[in-house]
């Protein structure tokens, strides 16, 4: 307990950033990673830490529109920026279309890679509405799935992009 308090006294750096649409203010230790802060201080346990060295992609978050490894970013670097995590996808308890496509296509087994996969997918589809299969593979190549469900994951991304495309057509009419 004492140790915890002592450690928290080191949390002397205050940062402000936009987190899933809300402005957040939090005190952190200067050497904390973004994963540490999001999980342990802000309770966003959707973000996973797998390898901790930027190889598995389980910690993928979107920073100013770009997918990045939360384990290779200092929390201090979030200051003043826009952060999106998997918790921001569902709106009032309803899955968004990406999550639904992952479920429909059987893209989830153990689920550890899913939050990172979803965030890499969101960053891709935010930039390219109708990505090619190669673009999808490239965008997800920094996310490892040890249940080896890559085909289903790629199909889910294709399906999500297709549905969005059709939805767009209907709204355009």
């Amino acid at each position: 307990m004492n140790q915890e308090i002592a450690q928290d006294e080191q949390a002397n750096l205050e940062i402000c950033f936009s987190l899933n649409g809300s402005d957040i203010q939090v005190k952190i230790k200067p050497w904390e990673t973004a994963v540490d802060t999001l999980r342990n201080r802000l309770g966003l346990t959707g973000i996973k830490e797998g390898c901790g060295i930027g190889e598995c992609g389980a910690c993928t978050i979107i920073l100013d529109g770009k997918a990045v490894n939360g384990c290779l970013i200092l929390a201090a670097q979030l200051d003043g920026r826009t952060v999106e995590t998997v918790e921001g996808l569902a709106v009032s308890g309803t899955m968004n279309y990406l999550q639904k496509a992952f479920l429909d296509k059987g893209s989830i087994q153990c689920g550890f890679c899913s939050p990172g996969m979803l965030m890499s997918t969101k960053a891709l589809l935010d930039e390219y509405k109708q990505p090619s299969r190669d673009q999808i593979i490239n965008a997800l190549s920094g996310n490892l799935c040890r249940c080896a469900g890559y085909v289903q994951i790629i199909e889910a991304v294709e399906e999500a992009a297709r549905q969005e495309g059709e939805l767009q057509k209907t709204t355009d009419k």
């Binding site: 200067p30 290779l72 890499s120």
Partner: protein, 288 residues
């Protein structure tokens, strides 16, 4: 054991350089942080300060500088890959940058960081070497320009002093009749460190003989290298397969001579020769 440090971010390049001149010895510079964070996490580096330069706008532009194109050291791989001028002018480097890490790594990693880290296996370095890259280095009150070949002196080792910052990469564009190629051998496509990588640039003259040729090889020696002896051995000759084969075997021989025979030599010698041969074929045989 994770290192504990103070986080510092400055608003301008000058403030950043001033900070380095006062505290450079006890500071690690963070650009993309993709290599640095791992060393900080493991505790192999434990600086007093981590200086975050990722927001310095002054070193994030692409512009003409004398007869070079100057690339701001702070631009990320993703930004550089998406730049159509760079893709057209430096196609080998363009391919090389696409081989770096993963999308997440390329979204934060920078060319300046790749040079400063000075890994023998850096993907981008051979792609810059064939353009005779020169590196703009600044400190609080002065600027120097150093050839990339001279800057990197050993594995993870370079001539940068603690008060200096890489601010620009100067690449010399070539005429449109030049062709370029970059190839690598690695265990898998993404998130892998190259076992061998090579960049080649060359042109033929009107009579179809090799006019200009530059070969750079990485991952197989303490630093990425320019292979001038092999280049000169076939300049002026007609690019026949056998000639190219001899030049690539010379590259492999020189590297083995340099690093000495190791348990991996049996693999490395044909791997280096084969990779360089493919690059030479890309550049010199496909020109119709």
């Amino acid at each position: 054991m994770r290192s504990e440090f103070k986080y510092v971010r400055t608003d301008s390049l000058q403030e950043c350089l001033d900070f380095l001149s006062a505290h450079g010895l006890e500071t690690e510079i963070m650009a993309g942080g993709t290599d640095l964070m791992i060393s900080l996490r493991g505790g192999s580096l434990s600086p007093k300060f981590v200086l975050d330069i990722s927001r310095l706008q002054e070193i994030r532009s692409i512009e003409k500088y004398r007869d070079f194109i100057k690339i701001g050291s702070n631009l990320t791989y993703s930004e550089l890959i998406n730049d159509t001028l760079l893709a057209r002018t430096f196609p080998a480097l363009h391919v090389a940058m696409g081989c770096v890490g993963s999308q997440q790594i390329r979204n934060v990693g920078t060319l300046g960081g790749n040079i400063a880290n000075s890994s023998p296996a850096a993907d981008s370095v051979p792609g810059m070497m064939i353009h005779e890259a020169e590196i703009m280095i600044q400190k609080a009150d002065s600027t120097r320009i150093e050839k990339l070949e001279k800057l990197i002196v050993g594995p993870y080792s370079n001539t940068l002093t603690p008060d200096e910052l890489i601010t620009g990469i100067l690449l010399r564009p070539v005429e449109s009749n030049f062709k370029q190629s970059y190839r690598r051998i690695a265990r898998r496509k993404s998130l892998s460190i190259a076992r061998v990588n090579a960049a080649v640039l060359g042109s033929l003259n009107d009579s179809g003989c090799i006019e200009e040729l530059r070969i750079s090889v990485g991952s197989v020696a303490p630093t990425p290298l320019r292979m001038r002896q092999a280049e000169n051995s076939i300049k002026g000759l007609r690019p026949e397969f056998k000639i190219l084969q001899e030049a690539s075997e010379l590259v492999a021989k020189q590297i083995i001579d340099l690093v000495g025979a190791r348990h991996s030599t049996e693999y490395k010698r044909p791997a280096i020769a084969g990779l360089v041969l493919k690059c030479l074929e890309d550049v010199l045989l496909d020109q119709n």
